[in-house]
């Protein structure tokens, strides 16, 4: 068990290192930082001085090493565009994205799983089929625009943009504690979650249909267990493995997709920052965002692996190497 945990963490660290390398390479490839930092009037001496100050005269490996060390300390340099420390920029934006993504995840799971079970039990139900299709077929940005048109402009019920009023706890801010903050969260989280609702729903349905055909479900029925118990205790539990995996993946995807939602709803999160960074080729922000999202993503997947161990006794066996999950 311990071995498995150590291994998972080691794996995650390795992947992180490679991601760091990619981020570093973006730095190296996307133009010369010196060029980007100094204006055209700068002299050659200025350039050389800056080059040395930035450590760009060192061999690439050393530079990478410095990059990693500084990244570990949360130092990703200064945003070209905002002229502020990238880390503090991201730290400021992170709560907004986090809140949005978490609410969407909860929505996706709370709505997606029961709907998925329902659709598996009643495969012919039309409403379920429609829901399972809408989310994956109508792009989130289209949904966002339509929602704004209906609920903000026509009905005036919900705010069209922003987070509403937020409560600050140190560096963390939350909109969940104020009525306007909660109202503001509704449309962005729905438009973000819709894809995932459909996705989780389809996943659960597909898994359920498969699990319901297994011998142990047949045997559970043959023992006279009531349907509800068969569906929710026996079948659903066995469906949860891929759902757990996908939830890990999903949160990462949500963070990425949040940038679409954030663009539409002017949600002051990391995604907006990133989109702007891409437009402006603000490399430190791009690199930091890439690293941070990967950290979150990899952490989640590592947690998922541990959840696996908790859920599936077969994987806990020493020496069985743990669960390499297949998507």
């Amino acid at each position: 068990m311990f071995a498995i945990i150590v291994k998972r963490i080691g794996n995650a660290a390795l992947v992180m290192l490679v991601v760091a390398f990619i981020a570093f390479m973006i730095f190296q490839f996307l133009g010369d930082p010196v060029q980007l930092m100094l204006n055209s009037q700068a002299t050659q001496e200025d350039r050389d001085a800056l080059r040395i100050r930035l450590g760009l005269d060192q061999p690439v490996i050393m530079q990478f090493f410095t990059f990693v060390v500084r990244a570990l300390q949360g130092d990703f340099g200064v945003s070209f565009r905002n002229q502020r420390e990238v880390m503090s920029l991201i730290a400021e934006r992170f709560p907004a994205t986090f809140e949005l993504v978490m609410v969407s995840t909860v929505l996706a799971l709370l709505i997606g799983i029961p709907l998925g079970v329902f659709a598996a039990i009643k495969p012919k139900n039309l409403a379920a089929r429609v829901v399972s299709m809408i989310g994956i077929s109508v792009p989130a940005f289209v949904i966002g625009i339509v929602l704004i048109l209906i609920f903000s402009v026509q009905l005036g019920w919900l705010p069209a943009f922003g987070r509403g009023e937020v409560v600050q706890f140190g560096t963390w801010s939350t909109g969940l504690l104020t009525p306007s903050g909660r109202l503001a969260l509704i449309m962005p989280s729905i438009s973000l979650a819709l894809f995932q609702i459909s996705f989780i729903m389809r996943l659960v349905t597909a898994e359920m249909l498969e699990v319901l055909r297994t011998d142990y479900i047949k045997f559970a029925r043959a023992r006279g267990l009531p349907d509800r118990r068969v569906y929710f205790r026996h079948a659903l539990k066995n469906c949860m493995m891929p759902v757990v995996t996908m939830t890990g993946m999903m949160i990462g995807d949500l963070i990425a997709f949040a940038l679409v939602t954030e663009t539409v709803f002017q949600w002051p999160g990391m995604g907006l920052l990133f989109v702007q960074a891409v437009m402006f080729i603000d490399i430190p922000v791009m690199a930091a965002y890439l690293m941070i999202v990967s950290v979150i993503f990899i952490t989640l997947n590592t947690i998922v692996d541990f959840v696996y161990l908790a859920v599936d006794p077969r994987l806990r066996q020493a020496g069985s190497g743990g669960g390499s999950h297949v998507r």
Binding site: M37, V78, Q83, R84, I148, G156, P159, A160, G162, F265
Partner: protein, 502 residues
């Protein structure tokens, strides 16, 4: 409590007015920081932190500073602050250095008197000073912000995210790209002509979202109402739109060096042939552009400056007629019967409907055989291309702010790149006669004479079709029912210290 919610198209770059020569940033920060002089409601120069001034000699101006002015942190305003601020803005690393071209130095006479040394007979110092804002020296020193922020140093300046001015509002909080909150400064020296307690400034990049926010009363005001939405906004009850055209003239500039950047003509630069420039000019259907792209809100112009700018003359304003056939003929005469291709660098966040203008013009050019490789990107990316001359045709808008005088465009754009002049001479154009005229104007204290030189210079430029003026661009403000009155001047700067709420 009167809270004004302001939805802008974009955020200010920084809280430091000296960090970036950006008109909008300075306009927003003018609520917090003030200069020695300012423009009044009629765009006339009026005293601000200086109460009076006199020209002591051709090179020395003396300013008498206002008594009893306090910075937001409570520190008193003195001559040291003025000197520190002038030093800061004229630092070699300061991007605003060009806004104060004649500045040579400053000396403290006493706590409330300063002398500024300039180049001889510089006529426009006051105009320049309208936008040179004053920091508190102690605040700068104790926060190590005496020098302007230098990105190269890898540290952000304290002033980037903090502000301490003397203005009518003070900054309470700021989250870049999300929200900046201003609160009324009770200790403002001037008599407030507003009743605002708080301004919440929010950038909303998506124009649709911004309009939706205004329609659903989430914001009270926007200084950039999308032109296409104006009819809709006007039709909504309670929403007022103030639309007219501003000082800014938008025009195209040419690469005038010997080599093209991305063209199928490689042996020479076709842009150096006046026939080609005229062909390009005459193939632009400016009326269609005005009607469709600018929604009838821009003012077509043949001049490089707006009528309100001193130096303007009616004779400057005539345009060459739209005539694609003539254009084709000119091209043929110039040796390009089948046209040629070139790079056309535009931004998508600079001027009003800029991307659409460039697209539309590209298609007009295409019809006479000119193939523009349209390169559209945010300003920050394109600026680098402009500054390094990596374009064949580019777009530029010039409002002559803060000078409000045609000398501004002449010295910064038209003049060849010498010393502090010609900072925006991107394409390497060079007209020695025009340069001479500009230089004479820069040393002429007599206003009429000076403007005569300037008009003459503008005329020469026009005759050579050195640039291709399009229009004075529109400005459109929209406000919700909470706003009682607001002052809109042609410089397109919101002035909330002149705004009443209901």
């Amino acid at each position: 409590e009167n809270v004004l919610k302001w939805g802008a198209q974009r955020d200010v770059v920084s809280l430091d007015p000296y960090s970036y020569g950006d008109t909008f940033t300075i306009a927003v920060l003018n609520h917090v920081y003030e200069g020695l002089v300012r423009y009044d409601e009629k765009l006339q120069i009026a005293p601000a932190l200086a109460t009076s001034w006199e020209v002591v000699s051709p090179t020395v101006w003396r300013f008498h500073l206002r008594d009893g002015v306090k910075f937001h942190d409570g520190a008193p305003f003195t001559a040291d602050d003025v000197i520190a601020s002038l030093t800061r803005v004229s630092d070699p690393a300061s991007p605003l250095r060009g806004n104060l071209p004649a500045y040579k130095g400053a000396t403290k006479v006493d706590d409330h008197t300063v002398e500024i040394n300039t180049t001889p007979n510089y006529p426009l110092l006051l105009n320049d000073l309208t936008n040179i804002v004053i920091f508190d020296k102690e605040w700068l020193v104790s926060n190590h912000a005496e020098a302007p922020t230098d990105v190269g140093k890898g540290v952000e300046g304290y002033a980037t995210s903090h502000a301490n001015g003397t203005g009518p509002f003070k900054v309470v909080s700021r989250k870049p790209d999300a929200e900046t909150v201003f609160e009324v400064s009770k200790d403002w020296w001037d008599k407030p002509k507003h009743n605002i307690d708080k301004i919440i400034f929010t950038p909303i990049a998506s124009s649709a979202t911004r309009v939706a926010a205004l329609l659903s009363a989430e914001i009270d005001f926007t200084n950039s109402a999308p032109l296409q939405d104006i009819p809709r906004l006007q039709a909504s009850s309670g929403i007022k739109v103030l639309a007219s055209n501003e000082l800014r003239t938008v025009f195209f500039v040419f690469n005038r060096t010997d080599k093209t950047i991305a063209s199928d003509v490689t042996d020479k630069n076709p842009m150096n042939d006046i026939k080609v420039r005229q062909a390009m000019y005459q193939s632009i259907d400016i009326d269609a552009l005005q009607k469709k792209v600018m929604r009838g809100l821009s003012r077509n112009t043949g001049s490089m400056v707006a009528p309100a700018i001193p130096g303007y003359a009616d004779a400057l304003d005539s345009r060459l007629p739209y005539d694609p056939d003539a254009a084709k003929k000119l091209l043929a005469e110039a040796g390009y019967p089948n046209g040629f291709s070139f790079s056309f660098v535009c931004e998508n966040d600079g001027y009003v409907n800029e991307e659409e203008i460039c697209q539309a013009v590209s298609s007009m050019w295409a019809r006479v055989g000119l193939k523009a490789n349209l390169d559209v990107a945010p300003t920050s990316l394109q600026t680098a291309k402009f500054e390094s001359g990596k374009f064949d045709v580019g777009i530029l808008g010039w409002a002559n702010e803060p000078m409000i005088d045609s000398f501004s465009i002449l010295v910064q754009v038209v003049h060849s790149k010498v010393g502090t002049s010609g900072v925006f001479n991107w394409g390497g154009w060079n007209y020695p006669e025009v340069d001479a005229l500009i230089d004479s104007a820069g040393k002429e204290l007599d206003r009429e004479k000076r403007l005569g030189f300037q008009t003459q210079a503008l005329m020469k430029v026009k005759e050579d079709i050195a640039f291709m003026p399009l229009h004075q661009q529109p400005m459109a403000w929209a406000m919700g029912p909470n706003i009682e009155s607001i002052v809109q001047l042609t410089d397109n700067k919101p002035r909330f210290w002149l705004t009443m709420m209901k």
